[in-house]
């Protein structure tokens, strides 16, 4: 069960921004996924209120938008941390110990996968293969890629952002 408790009050300009993005896709329901991606780029996440505006503009039901948002792992309804941490758990990283690295991040940040630290600084997620298998195990923080991450190095990496 997904717990959605982020309540957002959209400002006038937010609604305008969403409308404009939808318009660049001709408000065409077929472009829903491309459109949601652009909007997530803009807001960082897709709270319920945003989805409602998207649905109204694209002429589809809110339930459908939500159905799409919950289907694709790229979409999130929770704001990500300032520094989103993604541990690659692709096969190559897995056989080179990605799980232990992930555990270490969980321990260090005291959050579970899919959560954000209380101060909003870090969020933790898993992804499947960034294609840098030569550097396995790989962790991405924002746009930066860390390769050959050993569990012992995790604290050090986090410290870079503190």
């Amino acid at each position: 069960m997904t717990e959605i408790k982020v309540k957002v009050k959209l400002k006038e300009q937010d609604i305008k921004a969403i409308k404009e993005i939808c318009a660049t896709f001709d408000n065409e329901p077929g472009n829903l996924i491309n459109c949601l991606q652009k909007i997530q780029e803009h807001f960082g996440y897709l709270p319920a209120e945003v989805q409602e505006v998207v649905a109204a503009n694209m002429g589809v039901s809110v339930a459908k938008v939500y159905g799409v948002v919950t289907f694709y792992s790229f979409f999130t309804m929770k704001p990500k941390g300032q520094h989103p941490i993604s541990c690659c758990t692709g096969t190559a990283c897995y056989v080179r110990g990605a799980e232990k690295v992930l555990e270490e991040f969980k321990k260090e940040l005291k959050i579970a996968v899919g959560e954000t630290t209380e101060d909003g600084k870090f969020s933790l997620s898993c992804l499947r293969c960034v294609g840098a298998c030569g550097l396995a195990p790989v962790v991405m923080i924002g746009d930066k890629t860390y390769g050959r991450v050993a569990p012992e190095k995790v604290a050090e990496i986090i410290a870079e952002f503190n």
Binding site: M1, T2, I4, L10, A48, E49, Q51, E52, V53, A55, A56, V60, S61, V62, A63, K64, V65, Y66, G67, T70, F71
Partner: protein
């Protein structure tokens, strides 16, 4: 409007091809599925998610449950019979150990993610999953494991217990394709995938119309109606309360099915006898209120028409009927800008309630608070309607409890067991008399036909020679008819199923509608196909039998025009004055609300 896909479907089916089923040479129509082809030779392949609504032209065949898999020679895996088209020379085996084992395993899997409370489930005995498990001889579940759980959702009409959902997606099809309400969608994925409203919000917070078509097709107990029978039983047992009951027209032609009678059996008299036997103080007829509705709505139509003919540019036409609570919810959510077009007349259920708790309470000498009004409806949206704030006086609702046809059957079973052997009885008087016009409210097109019978005579001053307006009858989703009002041609539109209603509303919004009056019923078939009726599982022959029974009941009545109802006339004379009088307006008319979410504007 002919359904195009259906005609194409029929065309494709012209040619016959040779196939083999279980070793037997069979000729089957090209373009048909294995399931259909097998059926023609008497081989039934079990299905679960599959649902074919022939008359609506909609199939729900996601091929998701995989219960209908069969062997096709030359194919490496099993084929789902419901979506696999037959090919010339195809050799199909439905009886091999591989098929039987796969089907059983798939069922075990589905059961392993399904609560085991069958004995106390609302669908016990009517559950298609239960029946399949029984038919396929599942005696053990080899794969116990985690079960998916979701937040239960209780609305005034519908209970969603998605722990029981098997992802057949029938409800989603009804909600989106047939009714176009867009409330439900598949959400999440994998093991946590389920059908739900946006953000898994409760139905009351969603644009749900409570038409109940979703629960009418749910093969399991995931979607059920709120059971009001315990409250009714408690009221009946309370010596301080006078409990009266009204029964809608569509109930009497379907109730018998719950007791094993063939579809279309009219059980009006037995139903009345049963209700009295259960202990209701008075057994009245919603049909009485239906006649009353025609008086009000018919007058409103004539009023608008007259204004229109006099050149009033502000008059709103077409007039839309407002008897159907699912439909009312629909336009309040989806077309709030057009909420001044429907008739302001309340539905028969609520007219009955309003009169019962005023006029009738006085007649019976009972205080409003001590009078309990129960309604028996083919509908689950009626539950929601009865709880609307505008239909309460100081918190006391005009209709206290609305129960469905299925709940009535349950109530009967709990109290007196059966109806089959009861002697027919008649309704109590003074809100029990009704005309044939009121009876046909149960069918699609019935309300507008009834309105025409009255409006014609009042408008033209002439007597109708033939009261049946055949052109308004039928099962097509959108129908149109022209009635000659003494040289004035009145254009009538009819839609049943909210998807069809949407088309007519969009035409009106775009100024393309040429209709003067439109009847809309939320459920396909009208009330006889309501969400509270005995489950028909998409079998349209059942709906047709019920519809025929409604028309028979109409024909059996001596009075067939609402304005000739003596009791209604008496009510106006003694209490209301005339149709659309101030008192009538206060008690029998309502207003509509904009329920569209405001955050979006």
């Amino acid at each position: 409007m002919k359904n195009v896909s259906l005609t194409q479907f029929q065309l494709n089916k012209m040619a016959l091809i040779d196939i083999k089923i279980n070793g037997k040479e069979v000729k089957a129509e090209a373009g048909s599925t294995i399931l259909e082809a097998a059926h023609t030779v008497g081989i039934e392949i079990p299905t679960l998610c599959y649902m074919n609504l022939h008359d609506v032209g909609i199939k729900n065949n996601p091929g998701g449950c995989r219960v209908c898999v069969v062997e096709v020679v030359g194919r490496k895996n099993l084929a789902p019979a419901c979506v696999t088209e037959i090919m010339p020379g195809m050799e199909i085996k439905t009886n091999t150990i591989k098929v039987i084992n796969a089907r059983k395993t798939v069922l075990e899997l589905i059961l392993s993610d399904h609560p085991f409370d069958c004995l106390i489930c609302a669908k016990n005995g009517k559950c298609q999953l239960q029946k399949l498990a029984q038919d396929c001889g599942v005696r053990e579940i080899h794969f116990p494991g985690e079960q998916s759980t979701y937040k239960p959702d209780f609305s005034p009409s519908i209970i969603r217990n998605m722990d029981k959902c098997i992802m057949c997606r029938r409800c989603e099809t009804m909600c989106n394709k047939v009714q176009t309400c867009g409330v439900l969608s598949g959400i999440n994925r994998g093991f946590t995938a389920v059908v739900a409203p946006a953000f898994e919000q409760d139905l009351v917070d969603s644009p749900c119309t409570f038409c109940g078509q979703c629960l009418a097709v749910c093969p399991v107990g995931a979607l059920t109606e709120v059971d009001n029978t315990p409250k009714v039983i408690r009221a009946l047992a309370d010596p301080t309360k006078t409990v009266i009951v009204q029964t809608a027209p569509a109930v009497r032609v379907a109730l018998g099915e719950e007791f094993g009678l063939p579809a279309g059996t009219r059980v009006t008299g037995k139903m009345v006898a049963a209700l009295r036997s259960i202990g209701f103080d008075k057994v009245y007829d919603t049909d009485f209120a239906a006649d009353l509705t025609i008086m009000e709505e018919g007058t409103e139509l004539l009023d608008r028409l007259t204004k229109f003919l006099n050149g009033d540019k502000n008059v709103k036409l077409p007039l839309l009927t407002s008897c159907c609570p699912g439909w009312v919810n629909f336009f309040e959510h989806q077309f709030p800008d057009m909420r001044d077009i429907p008739s302001s007349a309340k539905s028969p259920q609520q007219m009955f309630g309003a009169i019962a708790k005023t006029y009738m309470a006085d007649k019976l000498g009972v205080k409003r608070e001590d009078l309990v009004v129960v309604s028996v409806m083919p509908c689950v949206a009626k539950k929601f309607e009865s709880q609307r704030e505008e239909f309460k006086v100081n918190g006391n609702p005009d209709v206290d409890y609305s129960i469905s046809t299925r709940e009535l059957a349950l109530l009967i079973k709990q109290t007196i067991g059966d109806i089959k052997d009861l002697q027919d009885e008649d309704f109590d008087r003074l809100m029990g008399e009704s005309t044939g016009a009121a009876v046909i409210f149960g069918n699609t097109g019935g309300v507008i036909e009834a309105a025409c019978r009255t409006a014609y005579e009042i408008f033209t001053g002439k007597t109708l020679e033939k009261v049946e307006f055949e052109q308004l009858r039928g099962f097509e989703g959108v129908r149109a008819g022209k009635i000659d009002f003494n040289g004035l041609e009145i254009n009538i539109g009819i839609a049943h199923g909210l998807g069809n209603a949407r088309k007519l509303l969009e035409d009106i919004r775009e100024g393309k509608s040429h209709f003067h009056a439109i009847e809309v019923m939320a459920c396909p078939g009208g009330c006889i196909g309501g969400g509270g009726q005995p489950l028909h599982h998409g079998d349209s022959s059942i709906l047709k039998a019920r519809a025929a029974a409604i028309y028979e009941e109409d024909e059996s009545k001596t009075i067939r025009k609402s304005h000739e109802n003596k009791e209604v006339q008496q009510l106006y004379a003694e209490f209301l004055g005339k149709p659309m009088s101030e008192k009538a307006h206060h008690l029998l008319h309502t207003e509509y609300f904009d329920r569209k979410k405001k955050t979006i504007e």
